[in-house]
C-alpha cells in the first residue's frame, strides 16, 4: 500500500513537471507571434514614413517588452510550479 502511495506521489510530481513545461512552452508561443506582428508593423511604418522612424522604433521597443512580459510570467509560473 505504501509503495502504491509513493508511486502515485511520484506520478503527481511527474505530471506537475510535464504541465509546467507545457505551460511555459505555450506561454512562449503567444509572445513570439505577438513580437513578430509588432516588428513587422513597425518596419512597415518605417518604410512608409522614414521620418517617423524614431517614434516607430520607440513604440516598437516598448511593445516588444510588454509582449515579452507574457513569456516571463509563463516562466515564473514554470519555476514556481517546479521548484517552489
Amino acid at each position: 500500500m505504501l509503495e502504491l502511495l509513493a508511486q502515485a506521489d511520484q506520478s503527481v510530481d511527474g505530471l506537475k513537471a510535464v504541465g509546467a513545461g507545457l505551460g511555459y512552452g505555450l506561454a512562449a508561443i503567444g509572445p513570439g507571434i505577438g513580437i513578430g506582428i509588432v516588428v513587422a508593423s513597425a518596419i512597415e511604418a518605417m518604410a512608409r514614413q522614414p521620418e517617423a522612424a524614431g517614434t516607430a522604433r520607440t513604440t516598437m521597443f516598448l511593445g516588444i517588452a510588454f509582449t515579452e512580459a507574457l513569456a516571463l510570467i509563463g516562466f515564473v509560473v514554470f519555476i514556481l510550479l517546479n521548484f517552489a
Binding site: 524614431g54 517614434t55 516598448l62 516571463l72 521548484f83
Partner: protein, 162 residues
Amino acid sequence: MTATHPDPAMSLEPDTFTPESDIARDMARRLLVASPVFVVTCGIFWGANGVSSSGFALGLVALNFLAAAGLMTWGARISPEALMGAVMFGYILRLAVITIAVLLVKDFDWVDIVPLGLTLAVAHLGVLIWETRHVSGSLAYPGLKPAPKKSSFASDQEAERP
C-alpha cells in the same frame, strides 16, 4: 547613412540614432531607483535569501532590457531584415539565457525561488509601465530627450548669426 540595404528608401537611421538604447538605459536607471523597494520587501518576507534572490532577479531584468536594446540597435544599423531577425532570435536567446541563469542558481543556498520569480515578473512589468508613462509624455521627442539636441554645426551657425 551606414545601412547596407540596396534600397535607400528602406535604409534606417544613422549610427548615432538609437532610441532603444536610450530607453533601455533609462529603464536600467529606473530599476536602480526602484531596487530598494524590491530588495527591502523581499528581505522582510524571505530574509537574507530574499534580498539576494531579489537582487539577482533585478540584475537579470536590467540585463534583459539592455541586451534587447543592443540587439535591436545592431539590427537596425544593418537593414530592416536584420532588425526583424535580431528581434525574433533575440527573443528566443534572451528567454533561453534567463531560463538557464535561473536553473543554474536555483539550488544555491542564497536563492529562494519565490522572491526571485516574483521580482522577475513584477520588476519587468513595473519598470515598463513607469517608462511608458514617461515616453507617452514625451513621444514628440523620441529617445526621451526633454528638448531637441542642437548639433554643434547648428550652434556654430547660430553663433555666427548677427
